[in-house]
Symmetry: C2
Subunit: 334 residues, 2 copies
DNA sequence: TTGTATGCGTTATCAT
DNA sequence: ATGATAACGCATACAA
C-alpha cells in the first residue's frame, strides 16, 4: 500500500505537505501542489480511511439497520438511505435484523466497534430499548425509523399508523363490511399497536363492536396461516373483510385464502398497510395505505446528518409521514 | 471513548495484557483474565476496529455492490450476501450503482479507501472493466456476480442466461408462437448478449427466421415503452409473444400493454428472466426463468472468503447457477 | 510555504 | 505470565 510517505519521498516534500494538498488545508504553493498531485496519480494513491478515522475521531460511515430486507417497504427505504448517504458523502454499513432482537444486538455491537458517525435504526420492537440505550450510552447519534420505542427519546421518522389504519377500515366499512378481521403484527411493535387502535377506533365510530375473535397477532415477516386463519374463517359469523397490518402479511393471507379456494375480493376483501412496488406495477390489485418508503430513508439520513453536524439542532424531532389510501381492487362492496 | 489503556489502568495491568485477554492470545493467568474482563464490563469497553484494522492490515469488512436495489433479484442476492457475511464474521458495506458506471466508479474509490478485505461485485456492464481493473491493481480480491466482464479473469458466479433464454423461447414455440419479440437489456451487458443468443438459437433450431424488427434494446432498470413498443405492435405482422430479458422489463412491458388495452396472455403472451418474489406469491402470474438469487449472494460470499483466507484456492473459479422454468399463466397457446 | 513532533487505539515483537 | 516499545497511516499543533 502506498502511503503519504511514499509520495512525499517521490515528490521531495514532507509527508505533511502531502497531507495538506490532499485535504486542501494550509497554504501550499501551486507548484508543489501540482507536483504532489502528479505523484499521487502516478502511484495510484488512495487515502486510508481507517487511519484517517483514527485521528479524526470520525469515520464518515453511517449505519442502516432494517428489520426485513425482503419487504419492499424497507427496500425502498434502503434506497432512500443509500441515495442520501451518498449525497452527504457518507459510506453505508448495512444490517438486517430479521425482526430478531439477538441479531439486532449483534449489529449494535458491530456498529459500536466500527465507530460509525450515526445510525438509521428501524427497531425490531419495544425490546430494542436495550440496544438503543447501548447506542445512547456510547453517544452515537441515531434516528429511529418506522417504529417508536417506549422509553427512548430521539429523532424519529414514522408513518401515521393509526390514521392509515382508520382510513383503511373506514373504507371497508363504507363498502358495507361489518365483520372485519385484523391480521396484525406482534404487539411489542408500536406500529402494530397503533394499527390496532386505528382499527378499533374506526369500528367504534360506526358503532361496530370490537370482536377479539376477529384478531390475529403474528410476526410481521413470517406469516403462517396455521390454525389462525382456520379459526377465523370457521366461526359462526366469519369476516367479510381482512385488514392485514402490513404487505407481507397481506400476501400470506391472500395466498392462503386462495389455497382454500376462497376468492379475493369476491368471497372476502383484503386491504393492508404498505405498498408492493413492482407487484403493484404488474397488477394493481391490492388496496393499501401506501407509505412514502423512500422518504423514510432519505429524510432519515437528512435528520441524522443534521444531528451529527448540527450544534444548532435542538431537542429531538419527530417527523410523521402520511400514508395514502390507494384504492384498487382487492376489496369490494359486500 | 474508553480504550485499553483505561481498562489497563483500572485493572492494574499493562495495556498489552488487556489486548491479550481480548484476543485470547498469549498466556494469561485465569485470575488477571477475570479481573480484566470485569473491568471491561464495568467500563462498557468496545474495541475500536479502526485502530485494529490499521495495525492488522485487514478490516473484516466486505463490500457488496449491486446495480439495482429495486430489483427483487438483487434484493434476494443481498439477503444471501448479508447472511453469508454475518456467518463469516464480516461487516457489509453496501453500494448500489443504479446501472451507472460513474456511480460504480465512486463506489470503487470508496471501497478502496475503506480497505475492505474483498468485494462482491455485480458489474453494471462491460465498461465496468476499468473499475474492476482498479480493484485488481490494488490487490483487493473480488468475485463477480451475475454478469461477466470481458477482459477480466476472476472468481465468478453467474446464471445460465443462454440456457434459460432458450428454455423460455422453446416453451413459447411449443405453445405455437412464431412471432416472438425480445425486449432486451443493453448489449454491453453480458447477460443481455447471452439471452439474445439463447433466443436466437431457440428460434434457429425450429427454423424460425430471426427478425430484427422484433428486438428492442433497453436499459435493464429503466423501462420506457416510448415508441419502441409502438413500433413492435404496429408492424404488419406483430408478435404474439414477448420475451423480456428481466423482471423489471417484463413488468414495464405488461403495464404498457395493459394501458393500451392489450390483455396478457389473451392477446399476447409474456415471459421473462428472474422471478418477482412477493409479487409471484401474491399472484402466480408471470411465467419466468427463475434464478436462485439468494444463492448468488450466499455462494458469492463463500467464494470471496475462501479467496481471502485461502492460500489453497487455485485459479479463478466459475460457478454457473441454473435457472428454472416456472410455468404460470402469462403465456398461453396461440 | 513547508517541516517536525506527537498522538489516534491497537497489536506484534521481544524482553523480563 | 506480563510489560515496554515500535509500528500501522494520517492529521493537528507548532516551529522554522
Amino acid at each position: 500500500m502506498v502511503t503519504i510517505y511514499d509520495i512525499a519521498q517521490m515528490a521531495n516534500v514532507s509527508a505533511m505537505t502531502v497531507s495538506k494538498v490532499i485535504n486542501n488545508t494550509g497554504r501550499i504553493s501551486e507548484e508543489t501542489r501540482r507536483k504532489v498531485k502528479k505523484v499521487m496519480e502516478e502511484l495510484n494513491y488512495i487515502p486510508n480511511s481507517n487511519a484517517r478515522s483514527l485521528v479524526l475521531q470520525q469515520t464518515q460511515i453511517l449505519s442502516l439497520l432494517i428489520t426485513d430486507i425482503t419487504n419492499p417497504f424497507y427496500t425502498s427505504l434502503a434506497r432512500g438511505a443509500e441515495d442520501g448517504a451518498k449525497q452527504y458523502g457518507y459510506r453505508l454499513l448495512f444490517g438486517n435484523s430479521d425482526e430478531d432482537y439477538a441479531k439486532e444486538k449483534d449489529y449494535v455491537d458491530m456498529i459500536l466497534s466500527t465507530r460509525v458517525d450515526g445510525v438509521l435504526f428501524a427497531p425490531a420492537g419495544d425490546l430494542s430499548l436495550k440496544n438503543l440505550e447501548k447506542l445512547r450510552a456510547h453517544n452515537i447519534p441515531f434516528v429511529i425509523m418506522d417504529r417508536a420505542v417506549p422509553g427512548i427519546e430521539s429523532d424519529m421518522i414514522c408513518g401515521d399508523s393509526k390514521e392509515g389504519a382508520r382510513k383503511l377500515v373506514d373504507y371497508l366499512i363504507g363498502l358495507g363490511h361489518r365483520r372485519i378481521a385484523l391480521v396484525n403484527g406482534s404487539l411489542d411493535v408500536s406500529t402494530a399497536r397503533l394499527r390496532y387502535e386505528g382499527y378499533a377506533e374506526a369500528l367504534a365510530l360506526q358503532g361496530i363492536p370490537l370482536d377479539e375473535t376477529l384478531i390475529i397477532h403474528q410476526n410481521y415477516r413470517d406469516y403462517h396461516a396455521d390454525d389462525h386463519l382456520e379459526q377465523l374463517l370457521e366461526q359462526p359469523s366469519p369476516p367479510t373483510a381482512i385488514f392485514a397490518a402490513n404487505n407481507v402479511l397481506a400476501v400470506g393471507v391472500i395466498r392462503d385464502l386462495r389455497e382454500r379456494g376462497i376468492r379475493v375480493p369476491e368471497d372476502i376483501s383484503v386491504v393492508c398497510f404498505d405498498d408492493l412496488d413492482l407487484s403493484s406495477a404488474l397488477d394493481p390489485f391490492l388496496t393499501v395505505a401506501a407509505q412514502p418508503a423512500y422518504q423514510f430513508g432519505a429524510m432519515g439520513i437528512q435528520l441524522l446528518v443534521e444531528r451529527i453536524r448540527g450544534s444548532s439542532v435542538p431537542e429531538s424531532r419527530k417527523v410523521i409521514l402520511p400514508s395514502e389510501l390507494v384504492i384498487r381492487s382487492s376489496a369490494k362492496p359486500i
